[in-house]
């Protein structure tokens, strides 16, 4: 009680100047970028939805008139157990002119037998198998090599899709001939499985669903998820398909963007994926993702910052936005140092206030953005009790993982040693600095 009284006295004693001085990190870096900017952009998107309705109707009509063939490529290793459910969810699609190409990247389980049976029964159009594992990029490229469709949709085998997901992800291509790739809206299927999965569901909603609406509207959408992304085949062919991962989803998006194509996010193209259910598994996944951010953005595609002939402001801003994350992460440590040095005696109160600030902004943001959701098949109330925990999850857990990943990649180029990709290819990627 004594602590709460002191805390109350502390909070009431802070004036505006003091508030900005002590909570500058929240005010300038978190609140402005991830609350105000997102809110303004998404609000604008929501308010202009009526104008988009006509455009969408026309594009849908054009899609069904033209009936272009869509090549769905699903690369993976030991994914046999998921393929049947995937094929079934595709059979339910409202858009049916597609070919399903499964690329088995050296599976050593029952995948070949399962896929052969599915092919025999007409669920799969083409099943290609590499006896020796070559990595996800080469598997996807093999699918691309034999794809015949005008559009290529890249899927993960362990995902499933809303009935109109395929139709919705293709429609943006008919808005504008310059749209080269469209990202789908990835949501969490197993959000009830564990606390870890629930927190990720909130994160996906915030950063993927809402965050990508915002970045797409601003023209700086940067990562088309490998779980659900569509491309013009011509664009993919021009960039030579996927390069060695990890992080090939972001890499291919940048490559397509560099050619001058527009990249769109389609919130109505809903895909459900299973996320890691333990914090230990999540660490592994996020280390891989965060390391690839450094590798591809700061190393392979650093030319985006250079004012050369391929320079585009949208690419530049997109990269600045990503780099912002890196800067933000460093700034956070600066902020911690600032607090320790200058406000050491108030640290418990500052920590409490920070948690309150973030929780409040999370709740407001979550409730407001929930109103913008196009599909309301998730219970909003379910996630509300978890929002205070998100402060720890976002602010500390993910931030520490990110820091470790950045250090590992910047100092040791650890992504080249990641077993996610076979060493025989990573070795070459490292030598070529890609």
């Amino acid at each position: 009680m004594h602590f709460l009284d002191d805390f109350y006295a502390y909070v009431t004693s802070i004036d505006l100047w003091k508030f900005v001085r002590i909570f500058w990190f929240f005010v300038f870096f978190e609140f402005l970028r991830f609350f105000v900017l997102d809110f303004l952009t998404v609000s604008l998107w929501w308010l202009t939805r009526r104008f988009r309705k006509d455009r969408t109707r026309r594009a849908r009509q054009e899609l069904f008139e033209q009936q272009p063939l869509i090549s769905i490529i699903v690369p993976g290793k030991n994914e046999g157990q998921h393929i049947f459910r995937l094929a079934l969810s595709l059979k339910e699609q409202t858009y049916t002119n597609y070919e399903l190409i499964i690329i088995d990247d050296g599976s050593d389980d029952q995948t070949p037998a399962i896929c052969a049976s599915l092919k025999r029964n007409g669920f799969i159009n083409l099943y290609l198998r590499n006896d020796v594992r070559g990595g996800k990029a080469s598997a996807a490229n093999l699918g691309l090599r034999y794809a015949r469709g005008k559009f290529v949709v890249h899927l993960d085998a362990d995902c499933s899709y809303d009935r109109d997901a395929l139709e919705n992800i293709i429609i943006p291509f008919f808005y504008d001939i310059r749209v080269g790739a469209v990202g789908g809206n990835v949501t969490v299927r197993n959000y009830k499985h564990s606390l870890c999965a629930t927190l990720q569901a909130v994160e996906y909603f915030d950063t993927i669903s809402v965050g990508r609406i915002a970045t797409s509207e601003l023209g700086i959408y940067r990562v088309i998820s490998g779980a659900f992304g569509a491309f013009r085949r011509e664009a993919l062919t021009r960039v030579g398909g996927w390069d060695i991962g990890p992080g090939l989803d972001g890499d291919i998006t940048v490559k397509v963007r560099k050619l001058g194509y527009k990249i769109r996010f389609e919130p109505n193209a809903i895909c459900k994926t299973s996320v890691p259910v333990t914090f230990r598994k999540l660490i592994r996944q996020r280390l891989r993702w965060d390391k690839s951010l450094i590798r591809f953005r700061l190393r392979k595609h650093r030319d985006v910052f250079y004012p050369n002939e391929t320079f585009r402001w949208s690419n530049f801003i997109s990269f600045v936005e990503i780099t912002y994350n890196l800067v933000l992460n460093i700034k956070w440590y600066v902020y911690i140092a600032d607090m320790v040095v200058n406000f050491a005696s108030y640290i418990p109160f500052i920590l409490m206030t920070n948690i309150l600030l973030y929780t409040c902004s999370n709740v407001v943001k979550y409730l407001m953005f929930s109103l913008f959701r196009t599909k309301r098949n998730e219970p909003i109330g379910y996630f509300l009790p978890y929002l205070p925990v998100m402060v720890i999850y976002f602010g500390y857990y993910l931030r520490i993982i990110r820091s470790v990943a950045y250090i590992q990649e910047l100092l040791f180029k650890a992504s080249y040693k990641d077993p996610w990709n076979p060493q025989k290819t990573s070795r070459h990627a490292k030598a070529l600095k890609i």
Binding site: V132, G134, G135, S138, R145, G241, I244, A431
Partner: protein, 478 residues
């Protein structure tokens, strides 16, 4: 003794007859005309076997004959050329290179004669049993106890059991497998695995061409290529994507680097096939079997699997030749308008009871036996056999009254009840039946002369029906 020796040592050859001691050999020169009936007065046959087809023809004519006098006749080959034909190699009794060797044949002929005298000549009641009895008779006289399968390009299934298969046309070889299966079930032979074969599901041919075909259009016009994975840029595609047509080097179409060392900068993780017919790409061919006999294209899972066994005669099989072959199985399924013998016995029993009540009533029963009909059955195959029996039974029905019934004992023997018909009237009806059957058979199979016998007995009140039918059959076959 001296005189006997002297007589035996003298070989005389004249007009196709070779005599040695008290044995008379019939000599057939290559491609000379031959009537099998001429063999009747001879102890054995010497065949000039220079011509393979002629030799095969003569051996087949002799061994397929229904009469033991002919099909058991010792056959020796002269001037035989090496051949892989099992029907020639396994159905003769010896090879000689000149008539000087004829004395060496005498003991063989005598041994066959001796064993022939031990045989039982009663004909079993079914087609399968009669066919196997012939085989057992032959094996007994040749002192063999195994039915060995031989690879034979003339046989439609690719394998032949010469002793049995000789009775069938090459295209009917699948029937031999059915008969052997029957014999195995009857406990006459014991199987020993030899080989597994697959037959066409349309014509039972074993001559199948297994082909890798496109799973989409079933064409075998496809091209296979290695898939090449270039490590540095993750490009993967068929090797033709990498091949430089000018200098035949391999360079990556994505990053233009030259491929240098397999396993270091590239590998070949798989193969891809391209169908030139429908442009389909695929990795796994479908395997289909094309029947070279009927040209049907069959998916391999629909082929008929058959096991080829080496069969050993069981004790029952060994004694079948000497003690006769008795089997319980029926060879004919229900033919419309006929009844089974056991049903017939019941109905005749009712007729006898009816006659007992009214002594003025007179009924008869007749038995018909088509003596050489199996010779024709062998020739026309299983399907036509059934059709022929149906046709013959229709003819019988046309000659009898609706109240009469036909009891089909086997494909060669049947009974006809003649209710309220005395033996004289029954004899007239039976003659009509015999005549119309003979005419019909002759009309359809002009080269075949059917030998038909019948016997009629009046139904007796005091004797059990079983005994009356046995007596009827005995009278017919005596």
């Amino acid at each position: 003794m001296d005189t006997k020796k002297e007589n035996e040592s003298k070989i005389e050859a004249k007009d196709g007859r070779i005599s040695y001691g008290n044995l008379l050999f019939y000599y057939i020169e290559n491609n000379s005309s031959f009537r099998i009936e001429e063999l009747m007065g001879y102890d054995a046959l010497i065949l000039d076997a220079r011509d393979h087809d002629f030799t095969r023809l003569i051996i087949k004519r002799i061994r397929t004959h229904y009469n033991p006098e002919f099909y058991l006749k010792p056959v020796f080959l002269l001037n035989v050329k090496p051949t892989k034909d099992p029907l020639i190699n396994h159905l003769h009794d010896g090879i000689i290179y000149s008539f000087d060797q004829v004395p060496e044949l005498a003991n063989i002929v005598r041994q066959i004669f001796l064993l022939t005298t031990q045989l039982d000549y009663n004909l079993p009641n079914s087609f399968q049993a009669q066919t196997m009895k012939k085989v057992f008779n032959f094996m007994h006289t040749r002192e063999t106890k195994t039915l060995r399968p031989h690879i034979d390009v003339n046989s439609i299934v690719g394998y032949t059991y010469p002793e049995l298969s000789v009775s069938f046309d090459d295209r009917e070889e699948a029937q031999t497998l059915d008969i052997l299966e029957w014999a195995e079930k009857e406990g006459l032979i014991w199987p020993d695995f030899h080989e597994r074969i697959y037959l066409c599901n349309n014509c039972s041919s074993g001559f199948l061409s297994y082909r890798e075909v496109c799973p989409h259009c079933q064409s075998s016009n496809a091209k296979s290529e290695d898939l090449v994975h270039h490590f540095p840029c993750a490009y993967i595609g068929p090797i033709s994507d990498f091949r430089n047509p000018v200098d035949n080097t391999l360079s990556c179409p994505k990053c233009s680097k030259t491929l240098r060392h397999i396993g270091v900068d590239y590998d070949k993780p798989s193969v891809i096939n391209h169908c030139n017919n429908c442009d389909n790409n695929f990795q796994d061919f479908y395997v289909k079997a094309k029947c070279l006999s009927c040209e049907q294209d069959i998916e391999v899972q629909y082929l008929i699997p058959k096991t080829i066994y080496l069969f050993k005669l069981t004790k029952k099989g060994r004694s079948a030749a000497v003690n006769g072959l008795f089997t319980a199985s029926q060879e004919v399924e229900d033919i419309f308008g006929t009844i089974r013998p056991e049903v017939m016995k019941v109905m005749l029993h009712y007729e006898v009871e009816r006659m007992r009540k009214n002594s003025a009533l007179k009924s008869s029963v007749a038995v018909f036996h088509l003596e050489n009909i199996y010779e024709l059955y062998n020739r026309i195959g299983a399907k036509s056999r059934k059709n022929l029996i149906i046709e013959l039974m229709n003819l019988v029905r046309e000659n009898i009254r609706p109240s009469d019934y036909i009891g089909l004992e086997s494909a060669a023997t049947f009974y006809v009840s003649m209710i309220d018909t005395d033996p004289a009237a029954a004899a007239a009806t039976a003659n009509n039946i015999e005549r119309s059957m003979q005419t019909a058979i002759h009309k359809n199979f002009s080269a075949f002369e059917a030998s038909i016998r019948h016997h009629i007995e009046p139904l007796q009140i005091g004797t059990p029906v079983d005994a009356q039918l046995q007596l009827l059959a005995k009278e017919l076959f005596n």
